[in-house]
Amino acid sequence: MELQETLEEGYVEILDHLRKRSLWMLHYCTACGAVELPPTITSRFDAERFGIAPFVTSRQSDILLVTGYINIKTLKRLVTVYEQMLPPKYVIGFGSCTINGGIYWDSYAVVKRLDLYLPVDVYIAGCMPTPMAVLEGFRTLMKLIDEGKANGWRKYIENYDYYKANQRKVLKW
């Protein structure tokens, strides 16, 4: 019995180690953060050397990159997109808007804290975060996956009621 558990643990560890080298991102570009992504994935900074490539549909992607502020209309789409993705899936909050609202801190239409509505694995602070900061965020996520700590998707399933209640409060579903 113990042998089986050890084998399973080892299997998961090896899998995590391989999995972190292939992350496909869905960049949800509603705000100004989108402008920092082209330099991140093209010649100068080249995110593909870490196996990170932009993809276009939610079914194929692993990372949901939320670039910039989320207002109430886009939150609805964001939640739909997140629930369409297949686990293991990771959320990266990009820019200070996803942390505390950023320069939209007193706006009536903007959702201030992303992690009330979706489980965020990594935050990239800054307004704007430079491509180097974005790559640093990706590296942090890779490290967390390798250590088995990037469990946002599991948290979302376990605390589904909590997240749904928060979403309903804003969206009036």
């Binding site: 999995r19 292939s22 010649s43 080249d46 993809f55 276009v56 549909t57 079914r59 194929q60 297949l86």
Partner: protein, 296 residues
């Protein structure tokens, strides 16, 4: 006995060669972009990640069967291609049978993607089948030119008849060019990538596929890369006397294809078909004429 063992091992061999060619292609594209690029085994990592997803979304039985048909048909197609010293299944099916079997994979994928109900998938399938109508014509004319020249339809004999630098690339350059463009179209590279076109139809037929389904499709795609390059190698580059020369020649085909792939934009679907029915077909017909007049 050895023949049967090789027959079983060939799909695995084809898969790994396909993975190697794909990885090489990605690295080369990166170097042309002046990037460092992903490691050579990146496609393998992608497949492992996709197959280890925890959940899958299904839209019905045909949706699940689509990737299976795609992979199965790809394996079947591989077995009808000869390897150096091994005839594989070529005694049971010649060039004409091969051209028929090559289509099954795309049809399986079309059936599977059709059930997802996503409009992007339907557009992608329509484009894939229309494009097939385009590149099949020059491919079949180019293939049949060789049949006229050698008086046989056996792919293994094609390989042995070209030994010692009697390559069709040098002897029938026009047919080889037409065959190359047609094979290139079958690979779906730029400018003929109207089928997947991420910016237009969100990867077309694959739009609803994720996780293990997409992993299977990627395995099938790796085998398809092997098939297209091996097909061109056998028909026009004289096959090979050993396995390493064979892979080297496939690598050469991929390098030339990648050079074209990185510089071209994308055709609209009607322009792609018009192009295929005009230039490669014309060149292939000219090649056929030369073989008829000039004899063997």
């Amino acid at each position: 006995m050895v023949e049967k063992l090789v027959l079983i091992l060939t799909p695995i061999f084809a898969f790994f060669v396909g993975i190697f060619l794909e990885g090489f292609k990605r690295k080369m594209v990166a170097r042309i972009h002046r990037r460092y690029g992903p490691p050579l085994h990146q496609p393998l990592l992608d497949i492992i990640k996709l197959l280890s997803k925890k959940e899958n979304i299904s839209h019905g039985v045909m949706f699940d069967l689509g990737p299976v048909i795609f992979v199965g048909a790809s394996i079947l197609t591989v077995l009808f291609l000869p390897l150096p010293h091994f005839k594989q299944l070529t005694p049971y099916g010649d060039l004409i049978a091969f051209l028929y079997i090559m289509v099954i994979g795309s049809l399986g994928m079309a059936l599977g993607a059709g059930e997802s109900g996503n409009p992007n998938a339907s557009i992608g399938i329509a484009r894939a089948l229309t494009l097939m109508l385009g590149y099949e014509l020059p491919l079949i004319i180019a293939g049949n030119t060789l049949v006229v020249r050698y008086g046989t339809t056996d792919l293994y004999k094609f390989m042995t008849l070209q030994s010692g630098f009697n390559w069709n690339l040098f002897l029938l350059p026009l047919t080889a060019i037409a065959g190359f463009i047609a094979t290139y179209g079958a690979m779906g590279e730029h400018p003929f990538d109207t089928v997947v076109a991420p910016q237009e139809v969100a990867t077309g037929p694959m739009v609803e596929y994720g996780g293990k389904h997409l992993g299977l499709l990627m395995i099938g795609h790796a085998i398809q890369v092997y098939i297209e390059t091996a097909f061109f190698t056998i028909l026009f580059l004289g096959g090979a006397s050993n396995i390493f020369t064979f892979i080297l020649k496939q690598l050469g085909v991929i390098i030339v294809m990648t050079l074209f792939d990185t510089v071209f934009p994308r055709f609209r679907i009607e322009n792609a078909v018009r192009y295929f029915w005009r230039w490669p077909t014309l060149i292939a017909l000219l090649g056929l004429l030369i073989v008829y007049i000039g004899g063997k």
